[in-house]
Amino acid sequence: MIVRTLLERLEQYSESTAIIHNDTVLSYRDLSDLINKWLTKLNEEKIGPGAVTALIGDYSPDSIALIIASILNKQIIVPLTPLAETHFSEYLDLSRTQHVLDLRKGVCAFSMRDAEPRQNTILRELIEKERPGLILFTSGSSGHPKAVAHDFIKLLSKYQNAHKKYRTLCFLMFDHVAGIDTYFYSLYSGGMAVLPSSRNPADICSLIEKHKVEVLPTSPTFLNLLLLSEEYKKYDLSSLKIVTFGSERMPKAVLERLRRIFRDVRIIQKYGVTELGSPASKSGETDSTWIRIDGAHFKTRIVNGVLHVKTDTAMLGYLNAESPFTEDGWFNTGDSVEVDGDYIRILGRESEIINVGGEKVHPTEVENVIYEMENISEVVVYGEKNSIMGSIVCAKVSLLAEEEPDRFAIRLKQYCREKLPRYKVPVRVFVVNGALHTDRFKKRRQQE
């Protein structure tokens, strides 16, 4: 069984370093001991199989050991990072959490809530089958979060074959499907997971240098910031072998700059969906915005330009919404894609497509063009309702150096006119101060 495999591997790798966090270095044996400590603690608190348990915290040896202990204890786990704090009460309600384990202050604070998980069909099934569960949240296109329920064992099954040992920096969030993928892959393969305490470019570069990090899984937004900050010039990053990015489409200009700067690094796009887990994927040889998905576990088909997926690691369902699967098990990802043989390229969310008088505009296509211009820090392109055209294209841009906004708007329109059909040229251009990304290093596409 998969959980036993993990325990066997912890045993097998015992002397190797499993986790580095600040000044703490944990071997696999230390991690085993820590897991056992937490198992005892869960037992003392009378948290047993089937208990829906929220775990509040960011990366730390304790948070990782506690997740594994909770899997061994067959609980249903709800990981929450402090970034989601404003949503906590909603998330706890949606997941029918009974126990809250708060690690934020370094020690674990236990508290209990009144909740009836058995009233939910999916949770009841997990409880009755004594399967550990994992609840994650997606913001959903309607703005109402959806609670995604996974069978943790199914999700872990793909790591049985994990064998490439790397020193990996766990940049992606602790409560995000790609973040979970990062540290479980690392642990199953006997690698070393470096846990960050901050995600600003200087701190990340310093961790890479200090611990000779080989793999950095991250987001296009962070990579853009890394280039803009020029922090990479101040550190020795020669240990890096692989940089992966996911969750958003990569602006071409950023990718090209990265390739020039990190010549010996493989830069790979990943594709992960909260509802489906992260499949293994390979980027195309010549242009790494093309991805080839591992077809054995992740079957794909394209319906009207939108990617549908069928996979064994798919979630059981939403706790608070209808099943999105077709009768024969396909999941509509809502991602518009281009297809070329075995390869796909993500164009963006179908819901973000701007319809200008019947013509479709993908925000990322316009963003790519704007990124080619001088003096651009960040760009977000989005649609605005308009009674003449249905929608118009708008661009919010933050600049590196100050520029008179009207002049800049003209410059932008002129540049875009040379590169794009007229209907794709932004009609409204806002020059803004400050960051256009969220604390999770994803683009903020909604209008305020």
Binding site: N386, S387, K413
Partner: protein, 102 residues
């Protein structure tokens, strides 16, 4: 008439900016009665949308008021407010008036 001049001047600033940014088939003229949009009009709908957004921005700079020129109401007027710059100016002055009072 002073108010009207101020408004026309503001709209002409939008004309300038339109011409610099995306002039299509020659510059837009600073004329109150040249046909702008509609039969034998100078602008197509995309050009009109761009021009109107610029007027809205210039109005906001000049008057400190955010107005929406192209909405359901504008579209349902018997006399199209988009036919000429003169008509647009009339319609915008009406909007500014309403905005002040309401």
């Amino acid at each position: 008439m002073k108010e009207k001049d101020r408004l026309v001047r503001t709209i002409f600033r939008a004309v300038d900016e339109y011409n610099r940014g995306l002039s299509e088939g020659g510059p837009l003229e600073k004329s109150l009665d040249k046909v702008l949009f509609g039969k034998s009009g100078r602008l197509d709908s995309l050009g009109l949308v761009n021009f109107i957004v610029l007027i809205e921005e210039k109005i906001e700079e000049e008057y400190g008021m955010a107005i929406v020129i192209a909405d359901e109401k504008a579209m349902s007027q018997k006399r199209s407010p988009f036919k000429t710059i003169g008509r647009l100016a009339e319609y915008v002055s009406q909007l500014l008036e309403e905005n002040k009072n309401g």
